[in-house]
Every structure is written in C-alpha cells, then in structure tokens.
C-alpha cells in the first residue's frame, strides 16, 4: 500500500473540523457510474440477522449474564435543583447483599471533566449515588437505605426567563449575513411567525445499559451505544488505560435515535463499581430513569420574519431561536434551514442556548435542523399565503443553486426533481379540492415541507475482507447496527464487488477488539462512510483472486471477471466456480483491507427531500389524523431499498408524533417532569400509522467516494412535522402557536 496523509474536512451533524485522512494511493476503485449495471446493490434484501432478532435469540446489552455479576441501581435527584444534605452511605453499605456504594464524595478511580455523581443536582433524575448488590432488589433496598435528604433550590423551566437573566450554556450565536433588518424594511411583502416546539424524548425500548467486567487491568464492557469506539476511548481515558486494553461489545442495540453516544454514565459507573468490587457489574436504566435522563430534543421558541417581492422572491429572513438546553450539551443547528434552505442574501440568525433545569440536551435524529425546519417551513407557508402563491411554487422559485452559507456548489442536489415527484404522488394539483369535501364533517388539507440535512460521511472508516478456500468471504467492519440494517448493506456492497452471492458473505461489527474502525451511528454517516471502505477492501480481494485465477487458467487476470460466484473470461471460454480457484488455498486466505477516502474539495455535501402530508381535522374533538404522507428524498445511490424504506417510515412516524402527541411536560412549580413513563408519554402505535408513499431521486452522488451513497437515518424525520402543521393550517385556516397539536392545542387554535 502506498499511503499519504491529506488534510480533509469532516462533518458531523453540521459541525465541521479539519482532520488528517490516511489515503491509500493504491486504491483505484472508482465511483460506480450512474448507469452501472449492479446485480445486488439497489435490490431489496432482507437483513441477514432478521431471524435472530425475530426469534428472540439476539442478545442485547441488557441480556448479558456473567458469573458473579452484580446489579447496580441509581439514586436520582427528586428535585429539579437541590443540594444533598444527608446521604447515608454507611447504611446502604450495611444493607443485605450490597457490595459497593458510590456517591458525590466518593474517591473514584476514574477521572472525568465533570463529576460522575452530583452533590448539587441541576435536574430531576440526575444521578446522586449508585449501589451495586447481589441482586437488583438488594441494590434498590440499598438505594432506599441511603435515606436521601435534599434541600430544594430554585429552578428555571421557562427558557425565555433564562434568556432574560442571561443564563446560557455557552454563548448566544449570531450567524447573520448581509443586512436582514434593512432588507426586511424594504420588502414588498412581510410575514412574522412565532411557534414553539416540544421537548421530545428518544425513548429507545432498550434503555441505556452497560455491563462491565475487569480482568486485571483490562476492561471489557458491553454497552448499549451508537458509538462503540467512542465508548472505548472514553473508558480508556477515564481509567487511564491503553485503548487496546478496553474492549467494547455492541452486537445488538435496542434503539438509540441519537441518545446513546459514547460510554455514557452507565458504562462509566458500571466500570467503576466493577473495579471496586472485583466483580462484573450490570447497570440498566429503569424506564422512569430513562425518560428523565436518557436524553431529549430541546424545546424551542422560534420567531421568523420573512420579506419577499410580490412575485415571490425571498429578500429577507430574520430568525431567532431560544433553545431550552437544560444543564448542558451543544446548541444544535436550529437555524441552518433558515440560513441555507433558500436563496437569500440578507439573513439574520440569532440563537440563544438557555440554561434550564433539565438534563443536558443530546442528539435526537436530525437534532436542531428538524426543530428549525418545523417552524421555518411554516413561516414559508405563511409567506405563500400572504403572496397568494402555491407553497411548492414559492419553494421552487427560491431554490438555492449553491450553498447559501459558504457559496460553494453542492456535490449533488436533486431537490427540484423531489418536488415534482412528491407533487405527482400526492396529487398536489388537486389540493384545493380537499377543502371542499365535507361529507364526514372533517376538515382536510395538504401541506408540504422541504428537507435539508448533511449525510455525506467521511473518513476514517475501515473494513477488512477475507476470502477462504470454500469461497466464502468474512467482512469485518466497525459498524454498530442500531437497527438500521447497515451490516446487511455492507454484505450487499461486499458481495457486489466480490461477485459472490449474498449467502457467501458474512459480515460482523459490534466489537472494538478487531480495531477496524467505524464511526458513531449518527449524523447519517454510517452508510456513506463505511460502504466505500467495504467496497475498497472487497475490490482488493477480487483483484488478488483474479490474479490467482489467471495463473490457474493460464490467462491474463484482466481478461477475467467475477459474477454470482463464478469466474468467467470475457470471451466465454472460461466459466468456473470460484472454488475451483480458492480450493487451492488450503488454510490460506485472500485478505484485503479498505478505507474511506476523503471528501471532495470545493463542494458541500447535503441530502434533500420533500414531504407532503394530508390531514383530517375533527374541529369538534380537536383530533388531527394524518391520512397520508408522501416522501421523496435525494440521498444518492440506495444500497438496499427494503431497509431504506424502513428508515423513511421510522423517521416519518417519529416526526408525526413530534407534531401530534409527544412532549415531555414539566411542572412549572417543581421543575419536575410529570409524564416520565411510557403510559403517559404518548409514542405512536400501529393504529396511528398513516399511508406512507416513498420514492427517491435515484441519482448517485458522483462526487462521493466510491459508492455514491449518502445517509438516510435522519433526512426523513426533518420535514414531517412541518408538512403536517402546514396541512393543518391548510385544512383549518389557522396556525397553532405551539406543537404538538394535541386536542387541547387544536381546540385552542380553532377557538
């Protein structure tokens, strides 16, 4: 391998950093041509581990059982803000079966920038102490024996109040360009929209969980995480270990949706208690703990003032967002839609990351951009109403041909085609007829919204492929498949490149021991990062195999090709099963490794799309029923249409619930959430599902290495709530000042 380092830009959920990328100069794999005849890529394939999951044989972190394993229980703050007065650690240690207790004052072997346990908790649910005992029941008894007494201090629920008092996480951000104020004043038509969005909980059904076990100074941790390498690095840093002394296993993850980044509190606490006790320790959140401390999407209050000419050209955007951050986290890019979705030179963009007494905000599927789109795209519809213009036409007219923030071209953008296809599938031209039919007493309407997100991935990502004498390939990746089916996508890409049937390709991930790196399952980056590495590794194996085949058949390797498990010469004279060559390997194997190349210079990489929702509103009951959603997304080449459509459906349903039912409700007098359970925090059931119609732009991104694929985990959730809210406004002629559109919110809006 001829290698060199190149400087390249890496993006994760809108945050860019310059990194060194290791480039394999001998990697000559070119991006598949748009019209390349591929036999497996692009064809629907059931996930290879589906039956393991469907029969209940999949072992998640919560299912790990080790000899001598202890169970940990967490004492969480009952107050939104308080100071621990009494914590009886001795009494807890004396409780039957209790083996270890750690609290805010305990001397720990791990080091961390912020305390693991709080003496002055800043939110209800914040961990104060952890007890490890022989059984979970004994650990819970130990928690009770701690007899916590806490002095309740003042709290802030209302983010606006925090802004007024200059209580921020970090600094307010000004991402303005041009002179929006002057442009707005000069605009022929203006609208103003203020809408708030709810705190939505990720609610993975497998809660945050970890099992930690030490062998001398080596740590093995099963972690329910989206980032096993990040978890490994975090644990190694916390305990002062070499990275290769920590092994993180993440074979099956019961959902994450952004909430499970790195090691998390659970793995750190379990590893600490395992170190103290010399026994494996299991720490699994109970549901209430998960709802309080698993994570959430921040609630926002957003205001947009838009200006346009009478012919519908956007001339000014003023955007302001107040983000209820809780006690920390990063201010996710809520105003990116306002800044980049449409062509506009004069944009004011102010965001205020308010410090409130909830858990630090963390990522939830398209964090920031989804919330921003939800309100900004409603403002665009209000502008269309003010202009008496078709909302889709207004969007087409203001299409951004280049990235509005940087001025750079897009690597690929098929948004206009998405608009056309979505309109066709939705029957957009008959939209106004919906409002005239009133036979069932329901008000119907149709609304659209545009999607922008990143999803281009980047280096580093690695893969290895090993072909054995029986003609079977073994692919090692750094993927932790949290339910997306990316391991199966890797199987498809490897089989395509190798020219083998799917059944001859086995793919693994979920274990850092191989040190074959893959990125965190976030930012829609797994597919565009890992698939090119898998393809490169497979290409090397294919090349070597054909060289060996050339020797065996006494023909130049260039005259041979692989397809469907057979080696053929271009002239048809040779047509042999792959094993006719590989059987000569004996116990030797053909090995190849591949890595993800850098992103193209001079482009920005985004995904795009359009969704159109049709709703029916019962004005008497205040019930909103989503009847149909059309989704058309531009995500480059689709590897597996079967699992891709599952991502689209899942994103739409979570976006629909954000629009209609989901909201963490906090009691303003106590600052404590009142619906931290699954029976009062309403996630969708099968009975809530609308008809969902899906299509794609079907254009591979030729500027991306080497599969032309982009990520699809996040794009589908971005425009759903906005499309539903716009359909609601179309149906009723009213726009709600807040989501979700609960019955009381709807009745208030219609009153």
């Amino acid at each position: 391998m001829t290698a060199r380092f190149v400087r390249t830009q890496k993006e994760m959920e809108g945050r860019y950093e310059d990194v060194w990328a290791l480039v394999d100069e001998s990697d000559d794999v070119r991006t598949w041509a748009p019209d390349a005849e591929l036999s497996l890529v692009g064809q629907p394939a059931p996930r290879f581990d589906g039956m393991v999951r469907a029969t209940g044989r999949a072992r998640y972190t919560v299912d790990v059982r080790l000899t001598g394993m202890l169970h940990a229980a967490v004492l969480r703050s009952p107050a939104a803000h308080g100071r621990v007065r009494v914590l009886d650690i001795e009494a807890a240690l004396a409780a039957p079966g209790v083996r270890a207790v750690i609290g805010p004052e305990s001397e720990l072997s791990l080091t961390r920038s912020s305390p693991l346990l709080a003496a002055e908790p800043g939110y209800a649910g914040q961990p104060i102490a952890v007890v490890a005992a022989d059984t979970l029941e004994a650990a819970l008894e130990g928690v009770r024996a701690l007899a916590l007494d806490i002095e309740v201090l003042g709290h802030v629920v209302d983010a606006r109040e925090a802004v007024n008092e200059h209580q921020f996480i970090g600094e307010p951000a000004d991402d303005s360009r041009g002179d929006a104020e002057a442009a707005l004043a000069a605009s022929e038509v203006t609208v103003e929209v203020s809408i708030s969005t709810p705190a939505q909980l990720q609610t993975p059904l497998e809660p945050h969980a970890a099992v930690a076990s030490w062998d001398g100074d080596e740590l093995i941790a099963w972690v329910s995480t989206q980032g096993m390498f990040a978890a490994r690095d975090e644990l190694a840093a916390a305990f002062g270990l070499r990275k290769d002394a920590v092994r993180v296993r993440t074979e099956f993850v019961g959902g994450g949706f952004g909430a499970k980044q790195g090691a998390g509190f659970e793995a750190l606490a379990a590893a600490e208690l395992a170190r103290i006790t010399g026994r494996p320790v299991r720490l699994v959140n109970d549901r209430h703990g998960e709802m309080l401390d698993g994570g959430r999407r921040f609630s926002t209050q957003q205001t947009y003032r838009l200006g346009a000419t009478r012919d519908g050209t956007l001339t000014a955007i003023e955007a302001e967002a107040v983000l209820a951050m809780g006690q920390g986290g990063w201010a996710m890019p809520t105003l990116v839609p306002a800044r980049t979705l449409y062509r506009c030179a004069d944009v004011g963009a102010l965001s205020f990351p308010a410090r409130t007494n909830l858990r630090p905000v963390n990522a939830f599927r398209a964090p920031g951009v989804m919330e921003g789109t939800t309100v900004f795209e409603q403002a665009i519809d209000e502008l269309a109403i003010a202009l008496e213009m078709d909302p889709l036409e207004l969007r087409r007219r203001n299409h951004a041909d280049v990235d509005q923030a940087s001025g750079l071209p897009y690597s690929s953008k098929q948004l206009l085609a998405c608009y056309d296809r979505a309109a066709e599938l939705a029957g957009w031209d008959r939209r106004e007829e919906l409002r005239t039919r009133t036979g069932d007493g329901l008000l119907r309407g149709m609304g659209c919204a545009t999607q922008i997100w990143w999803g281009g991935g980047g280096p580093p990502s690695h893969a290895t492929v090993r072909l054995d004498a029986e003609g079977n390939a073994y692919v090692v990746t750094g993927i932790q498949d949290i339910g997306t089916g990316t391991l199966t996508s890797a199987q498809i890409v490897a089989a395509e490149e190798l020219g083998l049937p799917l059944a001859r390709v086995r793919v693994v991930g979920g274990d850092t021991r191989h040190n074959v790196y893959g990125p965190v399952a976030g930012g829609s980056q797994t597919t565009p990062s890992v698939m090119p590495a898998v393809r490169s590794a497979a290409a090397k194996v294919r090349k070597t195999l054909l060289q060996l085949a050339g020797d065996v058949f006494e023909i130049a390797a260039e005259d041979l090709e692989m397809a469907n498990g057979r080696i053929r010469s271009h002239d048809g004279a040779i047509d042999a099963h792959v094993t006719e060559v590989t059987e000569k390997l004996g116990n030797a194997t053909i090995d190849g490794s591949g890595s993800r190349g850098p992103n193209p210079d001079g482009f920005v990489v985004h995904t795009f799309g359009c969704q159109i929702a049709r709703v029916a509103v019962d004005p008497g009951l205040g019930e909103v029923r989503v009847e149909r959603i059309v989704a058309v997304h531009d995500v480059g080449r689709i590897v597996n249409p079967l699992t891709a459509s599952s991502q689209v459906e899942g994103g739409i349903l979570q976006g629909m619930a954000f629009a209609l039912t989901e909201e963490l409700v906090v009691d303003p007098t106590t600052g404590v959430p009142v619906n931290g359970h699954l029976d009062d925090y309403k996630v969708p059931s099968i009975a809530d599902v609308p008809e969902i119609v899906i299509d794609y732009a079907h254009v591979a991104d030729q500027n991306l290495p080497n599969t032309g694929t982009k990520g699809l985990g996040e794009p589908p959730i971005v425009p759903t709530a906005a499309a539903i809210a716009n359909a609601f406004a179309h149906a009723t002629g009213r726009r709600a000042a807040a989501l979700p559109l609960t019955r009381s919110q709807v009745l208030e809006t219609l009153a």
Binding site: G50, G254, T484, E649, A687
Partner: protein
C-alpha cells in the same frame, strides 16, 4: 415454592413477590422476552398465558401457577415460524428489541383471525410499541401470511 409450566417444561421457583417477567429472564434465562417499560405500556414482554397474550411485567409469578406459559422461545413451529419468516421478508424488524413481543401478538391474532382486516390488525397489535416505527412493515407481514394462508 410454586410450580410453573413454561414452554412445556415444569419449573419449581420461589416467586418471592416477583413478576413473571423477572422469573422468566433472571431465573429461567429465557431472555427473548424483553423488559422495556415494566409498566404494562409497551408489550415487549408479551407472552402467552393459556394461549392469550399478556404482559409478563405486570403478572405476579405465583399468579400463573397452574397455567401454561409460552414465551418466544417456545413459539418456534407452525404459525409462529411463518410469522417470523414474514417479519424478516418484509423487514418488520429494525432494532428488534420489541420484535419477540410483536411476534407473540401477531401469532395469536392469526390463530384467532386467519384473515384479519387492517382494523383488526391495528386493534390486536396496538399494545405492542415499536419505537423504530416498523408498523407499516408489521402490517404487511401479517397481511402477507393472511394472504398466503
């Protein structure tokens, strides 16, 4: 001690106030039945009690003595196998954590109503939450079996 009958086997267990789910998972190591909410709100712990789907998280273990319990591990043949194959073929499986419970409920539905309508599917399956949102695929999987039966 009480005697439990699970998947056709008899077990002597000390219920000690525990829920059936805790006994299944922690004592019998039948780990396919999942604990997701423990509040009877999600169906991840669905098992069959005398052929009817119940949430094992809300049942006291001693209350099921003398009754027949079947978990996902005991549902391997016949209609359940067809349900599992259809779930995989239609990709009604994402993270898979809720899937055993979904399979239990879908199997019982199809035994009761071999050719269910969409409404019957929604009614029978509404107690099984899937946070990944596989619902459209679950519906298709059930209809696929009904159509092929």
């Amino acid at each position: 001690m009480v005697e439990l009958q699970v998947n056709g086997q008899r077990y002597q267990v000390e219920p000690a106030g525990r829920r059936l789910l805790a006994v299944l998972r922690d004592e019998l190591e039948l780990l396919g039945t999942k604990l997701a909410c423990g509040e009877g709100a999600c169906g991840a712990c669905a098992v069959l009690l005398d052929g009817k789907p119940v949430n094992a998280c809300l049942l006291l273990a001693e209350a099921v003595a003398g009754h027949e319990v079947v978990t996902i591990e005991g549902l391997s043949g016949g209609r359940a196998a067809a349900v599992q194959q259809a779930f995989v073929a239609e990709d009604a499986v994402q993270c898979g954590f809720c899937t055993p419970g979904q399979v239990v409920s879908a199997t019982v539905l199809l035994e009761r109503v071999p050719d269910p309508t969409r409404e019957q599917i929604h009614e029978a399956m509404a107690g099984n939450i899937c946070r990944c949102g596989t619902y459209p695929k679950i519906e298709r999987a059930i209809l696929r079996i009904a159509g092929g039966a």
